[in-house]
């Protein structure tokens, strides 16, 4: 027997996630709907003799085709025919929430209404006659408090009763919403046409299809045209006729009339003594009083900056210790492998490829967890919506959305973030184009891994003005990211801004459980997805930097040098250690030069001389694609070559400053390139995941590298002309 499926639907912020978690506990599975980036959450419910799979549909205000979410929700209900749809509504915001309910009723599906947040409603002096409401809607209505679990058993019993036929599904006669004479007439006509042709084999009720067409619902109109072009044409003619008529006589759109009547229907229900307000409706609640301060003209932005900054501080300082812990564990494993295996390709691959690669990814985990925990607090408490509200005016100039600010800050808006959680933080954005633009530009910010590069080069070449340069580069990253977003929004991501019409939900205390589930869900996805691909890439990069290796003669020469050292000094003496290290370094550097990566680096000089980079820099940049941290260490290896003076234990910075291939101008060009070229691979994987396609990820690599190259080249060439 197939498992029963129940679907949860409701407005955003109605408490759907809380209910879902309460019903399914830890038995959850998160995936994506095919082709779109909307999350699909499934969980199992089990109690006594009732067992079902619960699908958490995306939160929507309506069932039009306004957003991907709404289409997903509608298609799921129509195509997968869940045994019962549970519609969760917010008792403290009944009128607006019933708007979705009224549309679900028209779909004539088995529906149970969960009246959530009755505790909040009670606090606000709102009384609701549940039995009467149920009678008027023609479906069971069960009062619940999702947060405490109150009423959940009764809710599930009602659902079970409906599945097993003890409660009749909704009575269509009861919920026939009238849309005014003109539209009703047209609907009648259209319904007949649809019924005659048995459109979609009865997947949707005929009247509902008619309403959607009159409402000018593009996605459904397309569906109809695909199924029966002729019928689609005829229906469209009818719909256009009534639209014309309404425009001429009332100067209005059919969509507006339909929405007005839906709200009229809801008002009619609520007027019949179902809801009593004990206080003035416009009374300010605690939440509004908090808002008076938190969104105040001067205090608001200040508090926001402080909040964002402290999140940043908290995550990066608290995660330092666990990150060090993870790194210790991996270096310990590394040592273990080192001791267990004989020298050779396998050992080198395990250590430099697998352990370093996986370790690099796992090292981010504490950071990501903490960051998501903080974001979850902001999100669940309702503060994030206020941040969007305050920042929208500025971000809109660049074609972004107020909610983008979080992603930018996290990625390194205040130098030292990380683009990985930044990219993942775009999930809280509900506007697809703005979200994509954010996703593609946040990697420009100065993440923590770019800081060592900045520090190295600024320290070596611009030591007198270190702080100034650091600040200027942070500012520059903002300018570049925002301008790039604007350009993207004017080209590949062109399109009208997504409406900002948004809810400011009342402030609520987040529940610990909710926070934990939120945090873990996202962290786990990161570990799983990034971990597997990264492993592969780091093995490839390792191979590129190792093979084909040195010729036997060269190897023999280094062995001979070592033997000489052994002959001259005690094997544990300081001199011997120093000399061994030097020989090791030289051998490594030469291996690197001879490797595939080295050859690519040399080949790339044909292009990169334009921006002043020689092959050693090129290899470092190539390595930086795996992780930006690699840039400094690869530079270290590459520039240790040919250092003849055994006494000179110069730092990398000093070595670069002395090297003929480098100059302040080259350093500036290299800095600009490293700040803006391709994001590191972990970020790229996340971009692919979050955007739902590898095309975007590849696009991100190409456009940012091209941009960085043009920038670096211009600076270098102009600098040369000016005589620097």
């Amino acid at each position: 027997m197939n498992k029963l499926t129940l679907a949860l639907t409701g407005n955003p912020n109605a408490g759907k996630t809380t209910l879902f978690n309460a019903l399914t506990g830890a038995r959850q599975h998160v995936g994506n709907y095919p082709g779109v980036t909307v999350e699909r959450k499934e969980g199992e419910y089990k109690k006594d003799n009732f067992q079902a799979v619960i699908v958490d549909l995306p939160g929507t205000y309506s069932l039009t085709a306004y957003s991907e979410e709404e289409v997903v929700a509608r298609d799921f209900i129509a195509n997968e025919k869940p045994a019962v749809v549970i519609n969760i509504i917010d008792a403290a915001n009944l009128e607006r929430n019933l708007y979705l309910t009224s549309q679900l009723l028209e779909l004539k599906i088995p529906l149970v209404v969960a009246l959530n947040m009755i505790d909040v409603a009670k606090d606000r002096g709102i009384d609701i006659e549940v039995a009467k409401l149920a009678a008027l809607l023609g479906v069971p209505v069960l009062p619940i408090v999702a947060r405490t679990g109150q009423g959940l058993d009764a809710l599930m019993t009602a659902a079970q009763d409906m599945v097993e036929g003890r409660i009749a599904p909704p009575d269509p006669a009861k919920v026939k919403i009238s849309y005014g004479e003109d539209i009703d007439q047209t609907l009648l006509l259209m319904t007949d046409l649809i019924r005659e042709k048995a459109l979609f084999g009865g997947k949707y009720p005929s009247r509902w299809i008619a309403v959607k067409i009159v409402e000018n619902d593009e996605s459904l109109i397309r569906e109809v045209a695909a199924a029966d072009p002729d019928l689609g044409e005829r229906l469209k003619i009818e719909a256009d006729k009534v639209a014309d008529h309404l425009m001429k006589t009332f100067d209005t759109y059919p969509e507006a009339v339909i929405a007005d009547h839906r709200y009229g229907f809801i008002k009619g229900i609520l007027k019949s003594g179902i809801i009593t307000h004990h206080y003035d409706k416009n009374r300010l609640y605690t939440s509004d009083r908090i808002d008076k301060v938190l969104t105040q003209r001067f205090a608001g932005p200040l508090i926001m900056l402080l909040t964002l900054f402290s999140i940043y501080q908290i995550t990066f300082s608290l995660s330092a210790l666990p990150i060090a812990g993870v790194e210790t564990v991996f270096s310990w494993i590394s040592t273990l492998v080192d001791g267990l295996l004989a020298d050779g390709a396998l050992k080198s691959m395990l250590i430099s490829g697998v352990i370093d690669g996986v370790g690099g990814v796992m090292g981010f985990v504490p950071l990501i967890m903490l960051m998501f925990f903080c974001i979850a607090i902001l999100e669940d408490s309702g503060y994030l919506a206020r941040v969007a509200f305050m920042m929208d005016r500025i971000f809109r100039i660049f074609g972004l959305h107020g909610s983008s600010v979080m992603a930018f800050i996290v990625s390194g808006g205040i130098a030292g973030g990380c683009a990985v959680p930044g990219v993942m933080a775009t999930r809280t954005l509900r506007s697809p184009k703005e979200r994509m633009a954010t996703l593609l530009t946040v990697p420009f910010m100065n993440c923590g891994a770019k800081l060592p590069i900045l520090a190295l080069l600024i320290g070596a070449f611009f030591a007198e003005h270190q702080a100034l340069y650091m600040f200027a580069f942070t500012l520059l990253s903002w300018v570049v990211a925002l301008v790039a977003a604007k350009i993207l929004r004017m080209t590949v991501l062109r399109g009208a801004p997504t409406p900002f019409v948004m809810e400011l939900p009342p402030y609520r205390f987040p529940t610990f459980n909710g926070l934990m589930i939120h945090t873990w869900e996202r962290t786990w996805q990161y570990i799983k997805k990034a971990g597997t691909v990264i492993l592969l890439i780091s093995i490839i990069l390792w191979a590129m930097m190792t093979y084909p290796g040195l010729s036997p003669e060269k190897k023999a020469q280094y062995s001979k040098e070592r033997a000489q050292v052994n002959a001259l000094y005690e094997s544990d003496s300081e001199e011997a250690t120093k000399l061994f290290l030097k020989i090791d370094n030289q051998q490594q550097a030469l291996t690197l030069r001879n490797s595939i990566a080295g050859r690519i680096g040399i080949a790339m000089e044909k292009v990169t001389w334009l921006s002043g980079f020689e092959w050693r820099t090129n290899i470092a940049l190539l390595g930086g694609f795996a992780a930006k941290e690699v840039v400094v260490s690869t530079l270290g290896t590459a520039y240790s070559m040919g250092d003849v003076d055994p006494e000179a234990s110069t730092s990398l910075g000093q070595r670069l400053a002395r090297d003929a291939a480098w100059s302040p101008l080259v350093a500036l060009s290299a800095l600009l390139f490293m700040m803006f070229y391709a994001p590191c691979f972990v970020t790229v994987v996340c971009i692919a995941r979050e955007s739902g396609s590898w095309n975007w990820a590849i696009f991100s690599i190409l456009y940012s590298t091209t941009f960085a190259f043009i920038l670096a080249t211009s600076v270098y060439q102009i600098g040369r002309l000016l005589g620097f």
Binding site: Y61, S62, T64, Y66, A92, N93, E95, R96, Y99, R124, N216, T252, Y253, E255, A256, A259, D260, Y263, K281, N282, R283, D288, D291, K292, T295, Q296, R297, F298, G300, P301, F389, M390, D392, R393, I394, R396, G402, A496, P499, F500, V501, M502, E503, L504, P506
Partner: protein
């Protein structure tokens, strides 16, 4: 009584929506969020840069941008 655009309303001013003159996605979104003819609203405040605006509607708060508010016509007391 007079009719003005929602953008012109002052803080704490109350009014009743008389028309939402926009079709397409924006119109749909506005209506889905409950801003339909006959709805009473009150301006709760504005963002620090004066845009977007926060409205009180049926005991809850909605925000929208000024250029979106332009499409909404409201009847207000003098």
């Amino acid at each position: 009584m007079k009719r003005i655009s929602l953008r012109k309303m002052a803080k704490n001013q109350q009014g009743t929506i008389t028309a939402v003159k926009v079709a397409g996605d924006l119109g749909r979104r506005i209506r889905d969020m409950g801003l339909v003819t006959g709805t009473e609203i009150m301006i709760q405040g504005r963002a620090p840069l004066n845009d977007p605006v926060a409205l009180r509607i049926r005991g809850n708060t909605l925000t929208l941008r000024n250029n979106e508010a332009d499409h909404i016509e409201v009847e207000v007391d003098e």
